[in-house]
């Protein structure tokens, strides 16, 4: 029987889907060659962490901030061009990048981790659904 490659993105994606579907908040698998930890965040956005003792760590992949529910997307600034002008820029985990407008409520969208905010992926004032991609952050170690 061949061993499952836990660094394979497809495997990680399948495991993440299964965890999310089952309502399980996280999973950690440790092996002699490395460790895989998947944490499903409260906003239903999965955080995946793969570490390996066998290979040198390359630049981490960008992290995407997704919509935690359906609503109208409002960027942190009043217009797309202003927001675009200010990119890329450093953000901390607690920084509010934008809002979701759901009726009279504005739901803050936090970066969730520190890094360089490189892209805004949704147009301001558009209707977005659960899990739609809103921002891209390059994590800083």
């Amino acid at each position: 029987m061949s061993a499952i490659d836990f660094s394979d993105p497809t495997t990680i994606a399948l495991l993440t889907d299964a965890l999310t579907a089952a309502g399980v908040s996280g999973l950690e698998i440790s092996r002699p060659g490395g460790q895989l930890r998947i944490v499903v965040a409260t906003g239903e956005e999965a955080q995946i962490n793969v570490s390996s003792t066998a290979q040198p760590v390359s630049a981490p992949p960008p992290v995407v901030v997704k919509a935690p529910m359906a609503g109208h997307f409002c960027s942190g600034s009043s217009s797309r061009s202003v927001a675009a002008d200010r990119l890329p820029r450093s953000v901390s985990a607690a920084d509010v990048l934008g809002f979701l407008r759901v009726g009279p409520i504005l739901l803050p969208l936090c970066a969730g981790r520190s890094g360089i905010l490189t892209r805004q992926l949704a147009e301001p004032d558009t209707l977005v659904g659960f899990g739609d991609r809103l921002f891209e952050i390059e994590p800083q170690s």
Binding site: D17, A21, G23, M69, A70, V102, L127, G129
Partner: protein, 459 residues
Amino acid sequence: MPETFDSRPRFDTVLIANRGEIATRIQKACRALGLKTVVVYSEADRQAPYGRTADSALCIGPSSAAKSYLNKDALLLAARLTGAGAIHPGYGFLSENAAFADAVEKAGLAFIGPSASSIEAMGDKISAKRAMIAAGVPCVPGPDTALVDDPAAIERLALEIGYPVIIKAAGGGGGRGMRLVPEAGLLQEAVALTREEAQQAFGSPSLYMEKFLQHPRHIEIQVLCDTHGNAVWLGHRDCSMQRRHQKVVEEAPAPGISPDVIGSVGRACVEACRQIGYQGVGTFEFLYEDGAFYFIEMNTRLQVEHPVTEMTSGIDIVQAQIKVAQGDPLDLAQADVKCEGHAFECRINAEDPDTFLPSAGIITALTLPEGPGIRVDTHIHPGYKVPPYYDSLIAKLIVHAPTRAEAMARMREALAGTRVDGISTNIPFLRALFEDSAFARGETDIHYLEQWLKQRRAP
């Protein structure tokens, strides 16, 4: 003087609170009526084709049905965000959830289905049976009251009805929450177990007892009722070909039942609808044995198998359902309902044809049959990924022909011309079933398929 009604449409946009083939089917009906559609989907269904053809599409939650298609708040929010004026629940998921129907109406939207009170009344099998007896619909022998706690009284009742009896949960349905009792010695344990199961599964320990029929067929009557007191029945279906209480093949009309016998039952169903003030489409389910009908339950929603009735009656049931929700009076009377020819439906499931285990994955190639009298209701296409989270139904193959024998031949031809690569499907099993001589003669009861499968597996 003719009745007057507000002819202004109640809504121009319908949110489809479902997925898969039925989402595609409802979208088609809405488009034919000039209505806009909103498709909601889970993350697993993000690439579903009906999302691309809708006027709006919105992801409402993760793959888990509990957090998406069963999430009442997410559905109502989606309706509000997209400006939908009505919600069509399809079948399964929240289609028979009275609390959801009530929440939809309270939000100022139209629920495309019966009222919450009708759903609730028919969801309780004891109150449903009582209503049917009052309307003259034949029921299975047994009282229309819940079982009492007194063991001696329960034993007396079983003796009065005569063994074998069946103990059922008042809140159950679809084959769940029931237990067969072949003899007196097993009665008390069966009652205790079913009561516990009913409490756990349906939130109520209420039970009732009926005579157990040994070799019944499953016959259904489709009804259509408007909000102006008009009601018609659209013929009957035979859904006896079942595996583990799940229908596999359906046909209309039910073979070998005289129009006189079924006609009186159909009229009683219509009368029951009038008495309970039922609105929309609904299905009366009966067991049929030795020439007699016995009501078992009413499904207060669109059925998976509605296409066989559409093929024989020529009536678009989904469009009719939407028009009723708009407040339109029925545009046909009972005398206008003419059922012609014979129709079969095969449920194509993504599952192993021998073990029936679900088979998720990507469809690498797809060939679907075409031609006169052949209809395929589906959402799949080459490259479509069948997700593992939901019901395994991926397509419905429907045929219509002048006679039952010709319809069977057409289904054999259609099944031979169907190919789904990349995943396993039950198509080989369906092909074998349509070669079976007893099925061809129309002599099969609800236990036949299980026995047929057992014989096939025997060495």
